[in-house]
């Protein structure tokens, strides 16, 4: 199993939807297809710069959030997203749907490798969020429900192009 396949299997097992795309152009097309005219927050990233979506009135009215991962872990299906200028914390937590683009070349083998990679950045971003599957809760009779406070759906676009 390739690393991207292992990542896809692990992330799917925990409730994420994983799709593979060849290029960033394909990734942008796919995102437009998914979000349509819904209010969408997009993190600042050169690869997503010309993505034309409907901006939300405020963070609370956004239905979709789109981010680019710092890296991922094949073992656990985890993606790491950092905040910063133009990359709000809210993108990955307040909207009902979150889409994260992951470069296939940035999928690490283990969770520990991913943690080492993202925490060796200096200065550290004020927030690095490691996300494994959509928001969920098992607090009622240990039955998992999705979309507790964060996104109900998590789509991971694995981009083959570097």
């Amino acid at each position: 199993m390739s690393r991207a396949e292992e990542f896809a299997a692990a992330a799917t097992a925990v409730g994420a939807v994983v799709e593979e795309v060849a290029t960033w152009l394909d990734a942008r097309r796919r995102i437009i297809e998914m979000v349509g005219a819904a209010p969408t927050l997009v993190d600042a990233d050169p690869e997503l710069a010309d993505l034309s979506v409907t901006p939300p009135e405020d963070a609370w009215s956004a239905e979709h959030g789109v981010s680019v991962a710092l890296g991922a872990a094949a073992q656990t299906g985890t993606v790491a997203v950092a905040n910063g200028a133009g990359r709000a914390r809210t993108t990955g937590v307040t909207p009902l749907h979150h889409t994260v683009c992951v470069r296939a070349s940035q999928i690490h083998a283990t969770y520990a490798d991913l943690v080492s990679a993202v925490t060796s950045i200096r200065p550290l971003p004020t927030m690095v969020r490691l996300t494994t599957g959509p928001s969920r809760s098992g607090d009622i009779e240990l039955k998992t429900i999705y979309g507790m406070h964060g996104p109900r759906s998590l789509t991971l676009l694995v981009v083959a192009e570097a």
């Binding site: 925990v14 937590v93 490691l130 494994t132």
Partner: protein
């Protein structure tokens, strides 16, 4: 305090029926009960047998925690990391403080529960905040924060689903990571339906109802409070772990965020999270990692659109400095996974943590609670609430010798007792110990017990203290030992020990 609550999630809470028994009440509203009383009430409570069977089921495949070779490697690594900071806890905290301050976090040290409450109240007051959103955290339970703030006219909303449910019911959490483990979906539906609209007793509509009600509070609150799962000394980074995303909402929307931690939460390096996070999730019987591990290093920077303008870290002692210098120090390695509770036969028999009358129940609570400066007279007896069966030691992901520490705790408890009862008791124990150390004396006692058991009518025995318990029990009907079961259960780990 205004009559109209600011919180949308708590509006109408007075309509929620208070059906809970006293022993399960929220800590601030729990009447004083001795341990003997609360355990007796818990054992006799109608819901307890169902809860006991349920907890026992959870300790079986596929839910139970297994120490596979991979998990064992994580466990060894995690146990070593947690002991690194114990050597010089104050040194580790100094490094943490320096690095957290360097990135703009305001660090406060609280020696006592009162100090912690005062510091946090002042932060909330300084921003004239009247509504606080809160994520689940054991340390805020330990310092009784929510109740204290409410007493100051500040509304506190628990945003973790389980915590929100128990808050509405005015109950205390019954387990470390699953606060409403003791409630059925029907009970939750009853609680939520008290607000006027009937909610179906299924997890999805129930969670949706809570999401909608809590969302408005996330939006309105000026101050958010969370716990800390791990604080990395080398970078000053705070790691907060949730699956619901409520801590992320708090780290995103309010202007001020207060993170509260016990001194023991410090870890040497941020990279250690690569071991500790998977270990914690495994020990908490999660099949996968939790949805979110949020690493916070300072408040929002000038070029950032959201996040708190002020990030406060409150480090609470409440007896931990003393614990670190005592033979009980390894209890500070605890990562709060709840596994020792789930495997504990006493915890299960009591139907969960309520009967302990303490924030920390089960084996970890038996050790930790009496050592906290804030512990009450009743809580000092908690080390006695154990069979010393050793399951908790096998279950602990960081290899805390819980049974040994429980014995040490008993020794301490007995050491504080005085008076004639104590003298008689220790005399009897010494005699018993002497007799059972000699084969002849031991056999003589067993024979004597047989004779007494046969000749003395049970009704008489029932009048003699100690022997009363013996009389209650039908001693001739000892259940047969399931040898195959024992072998399956114990031989495999023994063989593994041998080959090491």
């Amino acid at each position: 305090m205004s009559t109209e609550p600011l919180s949308q999630a708590l509006a109408g809470v007075d309509a929620v029926a208070r059906t809970r028994p006293d022993f399960a009440a929220a800590h601030a509203h729990r009447p004083t009960m001795t341990l003997r009383e609360s355990t007796r009430v818990a054992l006799g409570f109608p819901g307890t047998p169902t809860q006991r069977d349920y907890l026992r089921e959870l300790d079986r495949p596929p839910e139970h925690v297994e120490w596979t070779p991979e998990a064992t490697a994580l466990r060894e690594a995690g146990a070593a990391i947690r002991r690194e900071t114990l050597v010089d806890l104050e040194g580790a905290l100094t490094t943490l403080t320096r690095n957290a301050e360097a990135c703009g976090t305001v660090v406060h040290r609280a020696r006592t529960v009162d100090d912690a409450r005062r510091i946090i109240t002042e932060i909330v007051r300084a921003h004239d905040a009247h509504l606080v959103t809160k994520a689940k955290s054991m340390i805020t339970e330990e310092i009784g924060l929510a109740d204290h703030l409410e007493g100051q006219g500040i509304e506190v909303v628990e945003t973790d689903l389980g915590e929100y449910i128990v808050q509405l019911r005015d109950e205390s959490p019954s387990q470390l990571i699953t606060p409403a483990l003791h409630l059925t979906k029907e009970q939750v539906a009853d609680t939520f339906s008290s607000f006027g609209q009937t909610i179906a007793p299924e997890p999805v509509p129930l969670a949706e109802f809570a999401r909608t009600r809590l969302r408005e509070d996330f939006r309105r609150a000026d101050v958010g409070i969370t716990g800390v799962n791990f604080a990395a000394a080398d970078t000053g980074t705070l790691c907060i772990i949730t699956s619901e995303g409520n801590a992320d909402m708090i780290a995103t929307h309010p202007t001020v965020m207060v993170a509260v931690m016990g001194m023991d939460k410090v870890i040497p390096r941020v990279a250690d999270l690569g071991v500790l996070v998977p270990l914690l999730c495994h020990a908490a019987a999660e099949k996968h990692l939790t949805a979110y591990q949020t690493l916070l290093t300072g408040p929002r920077r000038a070029d950032e659109a959201d996040g708190p303008e002020e990030l406060h870290l409150v480090i609470v002692d409440n007896g931990r400095t003393e614990i670190a210098a005592s033979p009980m120090r390894e209890i500070l390695c605890c990562i709060r996974c709840g596994n020792c509770q789930m495997v504990c036969p006493v915890f299960r028999a009591l139907g969960g943590g309520h009967a302990y009358g303490a924030v920390y129940g089960g084996p970890v609570g038996g050790v930790l609670t009496p050592l906290l400066t804030s512990s009450t007279k009743e809580q000092k007896q908690l080390p006695l609430l154990s069979t010393l069966c050793g399951s908790c030691a096998d279950a602990c992901p960081v290899k805390i010798p819980l049974p040994d520490l429980l014995v040490l705790g008993r020794e301490r408890y007995v050491g504080t007792q005085t008076g004639p009862t104590k003298a008689v008791e220790s005399g009897l124990w010494r005699a018993w110990s002497a007799a059972w150390s000699r084969p002849r004396a031991y056999l003589a006692m067993v024979h004597a017990a047989h004779v007494v058991g046969r000749l003395v009518p049970r009704q008489w025995l029932a009048h003699v203290p100690i022997a009363r318990l013996w009389a209650d029990h039908d001693r001739r009907r000892v259940p047969p030992i399931d040898r195959a079961g024992l072998w399956r259960r114990y031989a495999a780990p023994l063989r593994r020990e041998d080959s090491r």
